[in-house]
């Protein structure tokens, strides 16, 4: 089985998010970038599905050379090879177009992504790739089993879940539950240096959105403390002051 895993390079989860003084750009100074945590789950499941010579895992990333250390991390975790489309990921449709253009004639049986990136949280790219490749897409799955040529997936819905059967090839976006993240071992780290990372030139694609500016949330006022033996007072405040109950 040939699996393609899409990955993005995102600020570490502990990052305090700040922007340039004109509010137009994320301030990346001093920020540690990591493999998007949801993409790590997709990668881990892809490795499990191909272990023992049952297939190969290719990771694909749309970004500049500054992402290479994160791509090497994915190779250290266990991907067989990597592809970087040499362009900033301008917007979701542009990014999906790059992945689809690369994947369309490569015969992948399965494409996996994380449910969303933890920077833009768009959750747009997976289903867009599905549309561009003309294959089924299932977003936000918690379980993935391949039975012959059918994927058996558990998809999250409000207040429950759906069990979905999908014929290969398809694309799915992965959430917690699909797999546990894998930590690279020393052998993986050593072999990652020599695994193939090909750099592919960008395909022309329309840009449909642009980010005007960023804002950070307005800080809350000072916390109002209530004595531990006076919970009735809290209930009163929630009713009369906060008006939420």
């Amino acid at each position: 089985m040939k699996i393609l895993v899409c990955m993005s390079n995102v600020p570490d989860t502990t990052t305090k998010i700040t922007f340039t003084s004109d509010h137009k750009q994320f301030n990346a100074a001093g920020v540690q970038f990591i493999l998007n945590p949801y993409d790590e789950l997709a990668l881990a499941r892809a490795i499990e599905l191909t272990e023992g010579g049952k297939g190969t895992v290719t990771v694909i990333h749309v970004g500049e050379a500054s992402s290479d250390p994160t791509i090497r991390k994915a190779l250290a975790i266990g991907a067989d090879d990597a592809v970087r489309i040499d362009s900033p990921a301008i917007d979701a449709f542009f990014t999906a177009s790059q992945v689809a253009a690369y994947a369309k004639d490569k015969g992948f049986d399965l494409v996996l992504t994380g449910r969303e990136s933890i920077d833009h949280n768009g959750a747009q790219v997976p289903a867009m790739i599905g549309e561009l490749l003309g294959i089924p897409s299932v977003s936000i799955i918690k379980k993935l089993v391949i039975d012959g040529t059918t994927g058996i997936l558990e998809r999250e819905i409000e207040g429950g879940k759906e069990i979905v059967h999908v014929p290969l090839p398809f694309i799915a976006s992965c959430a917690e539950g699909v797999a546990e993240p894998k930590i690279p071992n020393m052998r993986g780290i050593m072999s990652a240096r020599t695994k193939p990372l090909s750099v592919v030139t960008v395909t022309e694609a329309p840009v449909l959105t642009s980010i005007e500016k960023y804002e950070t949330p307005v800080p809350r006022g000072a916390v109002k403390m209530v004595a531990a033996d006076d919970v009735a007072k809290l209930v009163g405040l929630l009713h009369t002051e906060a008006k939420v109950i």
Partner: protein
């Protein structure tokens, strides 16, 4: 040119988020001085469909086609693309739900439309630009996205826009274009819903607990408090990682982002990754025995003390207030 809103339902009933998204789409239609058409798939109950008129939908298209009675995003995207063409809609709006996240990008790619996912406010339409505020960086920031395409798709976060009555008597029309076999690859085998549980992403009230509870056996008092309030239950990442609670309750940067009216955090210290997922809550209450817990800095109300003593008392106080 008009605005089209796709409205989800669960087993034939609209949830609050459905009325929110219709109200939001109606406000956009008003901004652009045009009409609003709603589309409902797999529900032909007239009395229920008429409710969408209460929030401003002047036309309601529905299909009772049983091939579409469960969610198949390729077929749904095809149907919405046809409905958009029929209604001459340049803007399609839907809820940023689990299904919406699978459907909206597919539809946007089909239409060649730019997509704003997770809108939290109405578009700003001055200066011949169409810009929408949305949540980004897992709730740590907002981005303002300009849609450059003629066709536009917007998904609205739950609890971000109030359901607003704007009553019209809607024209209800059946709309059932033929479904292509190639769109039906995905087959929903089973739908499992936990009965009586409040859905976390849409909940107005959330009771959440962390490692301070010491073990999964202590969640009874959390559920009691949630039941007394009519709230959803949630938890921090260490709790779901340890298997004390299911993953779908994990709130935070790598879990679910919520924006309820009230978020009660019990025994959660308030790591930056957790705060990211809850910062857009209207009111935050923190109960923690450690007065230095970082969560107090972003809370509206706080109680320092032992959760095992405070939570049962709070449940009793809520019951007394509600008269139950």
């Amino acid at each position: 040119m008009s605005v089209l809103v796709y409205v989800e339902h669960a087993e034939g009933k609209f949830r609050k988020s459905a009325f929110e998204v219709v109200s939001y789409a109606k406000a956009i239609a008003d901004q652009l001085s045009t009409g609003l058409t709603a589309v409902v798939i797999g529900n032909g109950d007239k009395a229920e469909l008429e409710k969408l008129g209460t929030y401003g939908a002047s036309t309601v298209l529905f299909t009772g086609n049983t091939q579409l009675s469960s969610f198949v995003n390729q077929a749904y995207a095809s149907l919405l693309a046809e409905a958009a063409a029929k209604a001459d809609a340049a803007i399609v709006v839907m809820t940023n739900s689990f299904s919406g996240k699978g459907l909206a990008p597919r539809l946007a790619a089909r239409l060649g439309a730019g997509l704003v996912a997770g809108a939290v406010a109405l578009p700003e339409t001055g200066d011949r630009k169409f810009t929408v505020k949305r949540s980004a960086f897992s709730g740590k920031a907002f981005s303002f996205v300009t849609l450059l395409s003629d066709k536009k798709v917007i998904t609205l976060n739950p609890n971000a826009y109030p359901a607003t009555e704007n009553a019209v008597t809607p024209a209800i029309e059946e709309f059932s274009p033929a479904v292509k076999e190639s769109d039906l690859g995905t087959l929903v085998k089973e739908i499992i819903r936990a009965s009586g549980k409040v859905s976390l992403p849409e909940a107005e009230l959330v009771v959440s607990a962390g490692r301070g509870l010491k073990g999964p056996e202590n969640w009874g008092m959390i559920e009691d408090l949630a039941n007394a309030l009519g709230a959803a239950t949630a938890c921090s990442k260490p709790v779901s990682d340890a298997g004390w609670r299911p993953h779908e309750e994990h709130v935070g940067q790598t879990g679910i982002a919520v924006s309820p009216n009230l978020y009660i955090a019990i025994g959660i210290s308030g790591a930056i990754q957790h705060l990211a997922g809850v910062s857009s809550s209207k009111t935050i209450v923190v109960i923690n025995k450690d007065p230095e817990a970082p969560f107090f800095k972003v809370a509206d109300y706080g109680i320092v003390g032992d959760a095992f003593e405070i939570v049962p008392k709070l449940t009793e106080a809520i019951k007394a207030y509600k008269g139950i």
